[in-house]
Symmetry: C2
């Protein structure tokens, strides 16, 4: 790499540099990484893929690793250590100070998807008896990362959270003012073990840019910042999309996932759904004699199952999303079912009418057939909408991800009930 | 409200106060709102529902309205004016200064879902020749809202963006240092007309907390902050969930939406899907003679259609989400189709084997029947996966929301092709 290219490289955004290195072959990538200026290399390292991180730890000297790790924040280091093999992790842990190692260990101990696992521990702590001048000095000498100094937290002698002071308050205040008088005490905080999705909901509800996190002992353990929450929301939504699309969720971008990994993510649901279709096949076989008499009945099976599937998917989707947004809670079950029932009744009226006349005029003005199909359609819609809204709530209640209870599963259940209703109604009305 | 309650009320978070007022009856709500301290009322107003905002504008005196509106930021005011009837909007616009009115007008002119429509115009602008002391004074006297001062932007005499200085750089620098020397010039910016989803992608890619927005003349028009982006992401994802669930997207929370509004959001797709089922019914009727000979063929229709629907939904979901995350672009179409084809082939192999033996052993060891079903299943999976991944890309290409091309639509297309394959293969193999 010549001088000009090198300068251009060092002036790029670390995220872009990491992206380029990820796509460069190993030897070149290590060489290019070594050319990065000191203040860039830790930043670039934190954005690089786990495979390339592993490679760098193996190829760089112990001193080089120590230099990077000292710059890397404890939470970035914990993220990286989770993703690499044990020997690489050990090599890194050996290179850092004992204090930092303890912090990283503690971060790794927090349950996955907890507030503790997304928080950063590099924060500025002030005490109530400081003056503004002391506080500004503390910030100046702390050297902590940019986004985390916007709000400074005030703690007591036992490091219990007293309140918060924003950077603009400090800038605007008299230098001799006591921090005590500037502290906002009415602040929203989380516990280290809180679910990160719940924390994310608080951020969007209250327009927060940072939230302090308290440990079991009531002490300030760290803060979660809004940019981390952004990533949490994107990840959680992607997970829901994938589960609702009938797949095992995956963190990897589509084009970077191998064919067999894609198959692994999808095959379980596909097989399951294929095998549950044995039930619908059995139901159809059971009523076979009915179909010998009126073969036309067959032609409407796809329509009924389709309408049921769609109606159920709609209800499941609004309820799953409503729960994810905090609009719907388990205790709202009665309200939700009652609303969905009324929605289903109105849909029945509208779709039923359209369907009745459609069948009537396209099937030799046979009003008993039109009636059978329409009644079956209405029964299917009612079942689909009530099951569709209840299953996600039930899943949440028993501690399963509500997204699991979406289209594929509900379709199967609705398919079966739709068929049973259809054939029973046909038998009854047609007197077979 | 007695004194104690009043104090408790005034000490609450404005978001919570707004929530309470939304659920209070009108007369009480206006009375309670009047009791709020001056610095709280604008904040609470910005979080209250449009209906209650309208009520307040109608019930409060002109002076009271002016007081609130002077405190309200221009972007919050634009949001509110978009949601209320014209006469209410006029009453508000009459109460504010001409300058603020012009800013609000300009914000309202930006296309919906553009960067301009989510940005805030209240920013601190510095010039390169200022000293740190001048800069801190400018911040101090600007009185702008908290989250927007973390990054200050440096502009030239024509208000063109030169770069940015962060608050912590200012705090840590010598008071006599020139801003010029502290300015980071390599910054990521957006244009007022950029799609807000694209801007959101940049925020999560580069871990940004604010991004400057440039107007057509190349001048700094405002900034987008990460808390606004958080809301954008939540809204866009919700929209995608609803569209993919076969519904018209809606901004309102589930329980606050009336039954008829819910029906309106859902009935179009339901009717459309019901009517397209005429096609599947026609296909089944066309091949009726086949089913007279081997009625067992009927029993597998739900399984084939189900497998096709699920497989197609999986492919559509990963592609739609991949595009939303910026992992997949239109130009990747060949790569995506090739990957999905290979995934489909592996799935065919696995599901085909399971299916073959399942049918063989449960249907009188009839290997021609098992073969017909298995071949049809494989053809369906292949079609489902390729159509499922291509349609969303095609939609994006012609400027339609890719989410529209999801489960319900793909299911219909896959259902039809699955049936045609099934019956054709049956005819061929069974020699009918």
């Amino acid at each position: 790499m010549d001088k000009e290219k090198f300068d251009a490289f060092n002036n790029m955004n670390p995220v872009d540099i990491a992206e380029i290195l990820d796509e460069t072959d190993d030897e070149q990538a290590v060489r290019a990484f070594r050319l990065l200026s000191n203040d860039l290399s830790a930043d670039v390292f934190s954005y690089i893929s786990p495979e390339k991180q592993k490679l760098l730890v193996e190829e760089l000297t112990a001193t080089e690793i120590t230099d990077i790790m000292e710059e890397l924040s404890a939470d970035d280091m914990a993220d990286f250590i989770e993703d690499v093999p044990d020997d690489v992790a050990q090599r890194v842990l050996d290179s850092i100070s004992m204090e930092k190692g303890t912090t990283v260990d503690r971060l790794l101990d927090y349950p996955e998807d907890s507030a503790g696992s997304v928080m950063t521990t590099e924060i500025v702590e002030l005490t109530a008896d400081m003056t503004v001048k002391d506080a500004l000095n503390t910030i100046r000498t702390s050297g902590v990362d940019k986004e985390t100094i916007y709000t400074c937290y005030v703690v007591d002698a036992e490091r219990r959270l007293m309140g918060a002071v924003t950077a603009d308050t400090l800038v605007q205040a008299d230098l001799h003012e006591k921090i005590n008088n500037l502290t906002e005490t009415n602040i929203i905080s989380a516990h280290t073990t809180d679910d990160r999705e719940e924390v994310a909901l608080q951020f969007s509800k209250y327009d927060l840019i940072a939230m302090p996190v308290i440990n079991r002992g009531g002490q300030l353990a760290g803060i979660v910042t809004v940019d981390d929450i952004l990533r949490v929301i994107v990840e959680e939504d992607t997970e829901d999309f994938e589960i609702m699309g009938g797949m095992r969720p995956s963190d990897e971008p589509y084009l970077k996932t191998g064919v067999f990994q894609h198959v692994k993510n999808r095959i379980v649901w596909l097989t399951l759904m294929m095998l549950t279709a044995i039930i619908t096949a059995t139901i159809i076989s059971t009523f076979e004699e009915l179909l010998y008499v009126i073969p036309t009945l067959y032609a409407f099976i796809p329509m009924l199952m389709g309408a049921g599937g769609n109606a159920g998917a709609q209800s499941a989707t609004v309820v799953i999303r409503g729960m994810a947004l905090g609009d719907i809670a388990i205790k709202d079950v009665a309200k939700v079912v009652w609303r969905e029932t009324r929605i289903a009744l109105v849909c029945c009226l509208a779709l039923g009418l359209v369907n009745f006349f459609r069948v009537f005029f396209t099937h030799g003005r046979d009003y008993t057939l039109a009636l059978v199909i329409t009644l079956s359609l209405c029964a299917t819609l009612l079942v689909a909408k009530t099951i569709g809204c209840m299953l996600p709530l039930f899943a949440k209640k028993i501690g399963v991800d509500p997204a699991v209870m979406s289209a594929p599963l509900i379709t199967t259940i609705v398919d079966c009930t739709a068929l049973i209703f259809y054939f029973s109604i046909a038998r009854l009305v047609l007197g077979l």
